[in-house]
């Protein structure tokens, strides 16, 4: 689903990424950790064609980003949803209008779109806020709107850049639990974070640690990294120290909501989505 080979990127004389390589299969979950300025955001931007690939090879959801034409970028972005740290939602529009936006862009029918939006909004606990303007919501609610907009299209890949950066610890853990729930239905996820606490709560996830643009450590079951860093020590990451992983902290009703949502999303849903050649790698 995602294949990165010897990827390097520079902004002027400064190298933001140096010779990074990794692969992710369908439905895998990767934490991209590291301090600020390590290159996490640059890597994510490269993965959704936000900036052009300078050196190395990148394939995402079947698109070779080295050669991608401008006209094909929207097609890529229909497969790849992004959740930004600053949410990137329209504050003067309602929750409903923000969440339905990607479906309108795809030209989906009103009835079908409406059903999907309401299902996702309900799953994320925003149904009582659906007609409020996003500018009137709290930071946590705005973040959930951004997540709802990302998931309403059942993306093949979800990229999240510091999605918990504006949230308190409790909301952060709940948001990650939501991510894990959706991931279970086949979406490949990369979450960039500098929060070690967050990573520790998900020992089953793959982890790449970036420092100064280089991969300096990884927890990589299956040794898929080219650079021999699989299983390299992560300085306290992924120690299996008893953090609750996954669904336990989610309420049972919320879990039921998510399951119902995925069922309602119908034939385009992640569960029933066709497996591409890329996915079989």
């Amino acid at each position: 689903m995602i294949e990165v080979r010897h990827l390097s990127h520079s902004f002027g004389p400064h190298w933001a990424l140096k010779d990074c390589s990794f692969q992710l299969q369908k439905g895998e979950f990767l934490f991209l950790s590291g301090p600020s300025g390590a290159g996490k955001t640059t890597l994510l931007r490269l993965l959704f064609a936000g900036i052009p690939v300078q050196r190395g090879e990148v394939r995402v959801a079947g698109f070779a980003l080295n050669q991608i034409k401008d006209s094909a970028v929207p097609l890529l972005r229909r497969q790849v949803s992004v959740v930004f740290q600053d949410f990137k939602i329209l504050p003067d529009r309602s929750v409903y209008d923000n969440v339905i936006l990607p479906l309108q862009v795809r030209g989906l029918g009103r009835v079908h779109s409406d059903r999907r939006v309401r299902a996702v909004v309900r799953a994320l606990g925003l149904d009582s806020r659906i007609h409020l303007l996003c500018g009137e919501l709290s930071g946590g609610e705005q973040q959930r709107v951004a997540v709802a907009r990302a998931f309403v299209v059942n993306p093949k890949v979800l990229l999240a850049d510091e999605p918990t950066g504006n949230l308190d610890a409790d909301l952060s853990f709940r948001l990650m639990d939501l991510f894990k729930q959706f991931q279970a239905y086949g979406t490949t996820m990369i979450v960039a974070t500098h929060s070690q606490e967050l990573v520790k709560r998900h020992p089953e996830a793959k982890i790449i640690r970036l420092e100064d643009g280089k991969i300096t450590g990884a927890n990589w079951p299956g040794a898929m990294l080219d650079n021999g860093l699989a299983g390299a020590p992560l300085n306290g990451f992924n120690t299996g120290d008893g953090y609750a992983s996954g669904t336990r902290s989610l309420s049972l009703s919320r879990q039921a909501n998510i399951r119902a949502t995925m069922r309602q999303m119908g034939p385009d849903g992640a569960v029933e989505r066709k497996t591409t050649g890329d996915d079989k790698k």
């Binding site: 097609l75 890529l76 972005r77 990137k88 936006l101 862009v105 030209g107 299209v153």
Partner: protein, 295 residues
């Protein structure tokens, strides 16, 4: 697809209601620029008109064929006096023309007496007709009067006065080297200012455009509402400017229409009016197009 198209066009109109103050300011800028350019064009049109019309009077020289029945010609001369704008006429029967020629040539001519020609006079009947048609619809009047004179039975030739020809020549030169470049320059100015104003207005939508690009919108999807919005702003702005111009024109039309100026201020020609509407609309559309950058 068609439903999406109409929804996006609708969004373009609805976009005018978002941030109404910003939209009003943009519209005001378009109206102001269009109005100023319209004023300049009105001045040019008026000058054009005044230069192409001799203030008050137009003269025709009419020649009849030799040997035409003078009684019929006299009747025609009477009829001519009832034409619109008729001021005065100076008519010459063939005999009067011969006598006039004798007088003009005077002592310098040989032979000094043209009496031998009186039996077989080669000169035609002629009339020098002077009209004061006024300035309204001058071209139509000129065309109709010329046609009337040409169609009189027995008429061989009709000319406007040489003075008018020379003026026409001079005006064509001025028109080529001054007026056309001035109109082109003013239109260009109008287009650039309106286009840039609309483009700058869309910078406020850059955040929304960025989000649309992130969720996979194609360029046409993002641009269509902006193009509609830009076109509406350009068309509405220029239309409003034309309405204001027309209102002002009605108020000041005869301000300079007194002797010796006798100058009636002219409104824009239909071609200029069309240009005034098309250029801001087109540039509004262009402003919407270039306002979108790839993220």
């Amino acid at each position: 697809m068609i439903r999406t198209f109409f929804r996006l066009v609708g969004q373009g109109f609805m976009g005018l209601c978002i941030n109404p103050w910003a939209q009003i300011l943009t519209l005001s800028a378009v109206v102001l620029v269009s109005f100023l350019v319209g004023l300049f064009l009105m001045a040019i049109t008026t000058l054009d008109y005044q230069l192409s019309v001799v203030s008050g009077e137009t003269s025709f020289q009419v020649y009849w064929r030799t040997g035409q029945n003078q009684v019929e010609i006299d009747e025609q001369w009477e009829d001519i006096k009832h034409l619109p704008g008729f001021l005065l006429s100076r008519t010459y029967t063939p005999e009067e023309a011969l006598k006039e020629m004798e007088n003009r040539l005077g002592h310098t001519a040989t032979p000094r007496n043209f009496a031998f020609l009186s039996e077989n006079n080669p000169l035609p009947a002629t009339a020098l007709l002077t009209f004061s048609p006024g300035v309204r619809e001058y071209e139509t009047w000129l065309k109709e009067t010329s046609q009337y004179l040409w169609n009189l039975p027995g008429v061989e030739r009709v000319t406007v006065t040489p003075l008018r020809d020379e003026l026409g020549q001079a005006w064509r030169t001025v028109n080529t080297y001054v007026m056309r470049p001035a109109i082109f320059f003013l239109t260009l100015l109008l287009g650039l200012v309106v286009g840039n104003t609309v483009r700058l207005a869309f910078l406020g939508k850059s955040y929304e455009i960025e989000i649309l690009q992130m969720v996979g919108a194609f360029n046409w999807y993002i641009r269509l509402p902006l193009l509609v919005c830009g076109a509406v702003q350009g068309l509405a702005g220029s239309s409003l400017a034309l309405v204001i111009l027309r209102f002002i024109h009605i108020q000041i039309r005869d301000v300079l229409n007194f002797p010796p100026l006798l100058m009636e201020i002219q409104f824009l020609t239909p071609e200029m009016t069309a240009l005034m509407l098309a250029v801001p609309t087109g540039m509004g559309i262009l402003g919407g197009w270039v306002g979108v950058k790839r993220v």
